[in-house]
Amino acid sequence: MSSAIAVQASEPDNYYGYRSFKKGKFEFSRDEYFVKVKWPKGSHLMPADVFLRALQRDVAWNFFYGTVNFDHVFGTLNHYGTVDMFAGRFNDAYRNAGLDYVETFSSDDLMATFKAVLDDWTNKGYDPFAAPEETANPYGRKNGSNVDAISRQRVTAQRMVGCAGDTPVRTDANGYPVNRHFADVPQDQPEIHAEQGFEDEVRAFNLFGYLSRSDVTWNPSVCSVVRESLYCPTSEEFILPVEHGNDRVEWFLQMSDEITWVVKDKETGAPRANVTMRAGDIAAMPADIRHQGYSAKRSMLLVWENNSGKIPELIASGKAPVTPVKF
């Protein structure tokens, strides 16, 4: 990221201690409980934890695929190089009232502001990646910071976790203890018997054990790669902090426990379905919806993405269907 990118931040507020930020015609401020987003035609309040948990994912995912709705009003839409920041764009009532607003930024430019906001508004002890039972209360006035938590690097395997030179498996020793909700998950590794000279190709690892040691929630990370086909497993607890409106079909394979997906129309936000997935269930999320998951117990989810850069245009132009299979 260029050091020339300017972040417009105020001095810390005398009362609450937080800085306010401007980006384009958007303004962001926070107090003890809420984040306020202002744009030329309106303003909107969100609980600070809802905003920070969503912001943390948007930052870690580099704006991810498609639409990252922080809630029913505010979010970002990724164009891979540029990104739209919007208010009311995917909300029927705001659109009909003409209160929706969109501004486009270079991804690096908006990212600089988002990182600054995340850093200033995250207090000591609060980890926006963690499940609510695992972290401190996000509210109150400015109180320290948590740089380590918010600057975790997202795992991206090039071939497969555990391959030579690739992302390593997780162990107590490298800082990944087993999560309390996965204390019963077997930690044995596969028996591997490689003939001499084939050690780099005879590779396997315990994926469930690996996920049981994740220190974050709702953070799909690439673990195996077939061309543009990315397996992005993740451990999930409580509520997905965003309503994700993908610009392509994505697939979920529920590997353990249970998640309920609340599915709404991508454009309007109107409810479409509630999809309950239990261990072994596999389902597609169509390209014209937004989805938000609820996981009461920490669970293991395989998110499967097709990373091809051609797809958003194919979907948007109607050349590819919004569902992956007709039957």
């Binding site: 690892f205 077939v226 994505e250 590997m255 599915v263 479409r272 597609a284 039957f327």
Partner: protein, 168 residues
């Protein structure tokens, strides 16, 4: 925490979820369950349970010894139930999948190249099926494997038989 219970599925014990429609068609979700699919499959049929353009996730019932397969790109096998031995060997002359081809092919004969090794994988273990290798599965008792791969000549699509069409 006094006790935890992580719920995994198996051929012997799985509980499907489902789709509660508000304004939608359940078919849009192409919803199936790998244990149910495998419970109704013949050993080592490669049944697509996920498809995204050319890419697929195949579901295999592991039971006994599989044919030898080979593929010109990496694939990844994830054991969802049971214990599966994965045997790797180099193909002999003329046995390799065509260069640049998609998905796995079945080999007529045992591979003629040198042994690469073998791996014993249990539930939750993921094995690399490396590009250009021949591979064979063996399971003493029925198990379930999913494979991250590309749609190929062995991929079976039977969506209407495996997918949910009703709202719960």
């Amino acid at each position: 925490m006094p006790d935890v219970k992580t719920v995994f599925g198996s051929l012997a014990d799985y509980q499907k979820g489902g789709i509660q429609v508000i304004n939608d068609d359940p078919r849009n979700y192409v919803f199936s369950n790998v244990f149910e699919v495998a419970s109704k499959a013949r050993p080592y049929e490669r049944i697509a349970v996920g498809k995204n353009f050319e890419y697929v996730i195949e579901c295999l019932r592991a039971e006994g010894t599989s044919p030898w397969f080979t593929c010109d790109h990496d694939e990844f096998a994830l054991v969802m139930d049971g214990t599966v031995e994965v045997r790797l060997q180099k193909p002999g002359a003329g046995q390799a999948a065509p260069a640049g081809s998609d998905g796995a092919i079945q080999m007529k004969d045992a591979p003629g190249g040198p042994r690469m090794g073998r791996m014993v994988c249990r539930r939750g273990h993921m094995a690399l099926l490396p590009k250009g290798a021949a591979y064979q599965f063996h399971a003493d008792a029925p198990g379930v494997i999913t494979i991250q791969t590309v749609h190929g000549p062995l991929t079976i699509e039977r969506w209407a038989e495996i997918c949910e069409t009703r709202s719960i």
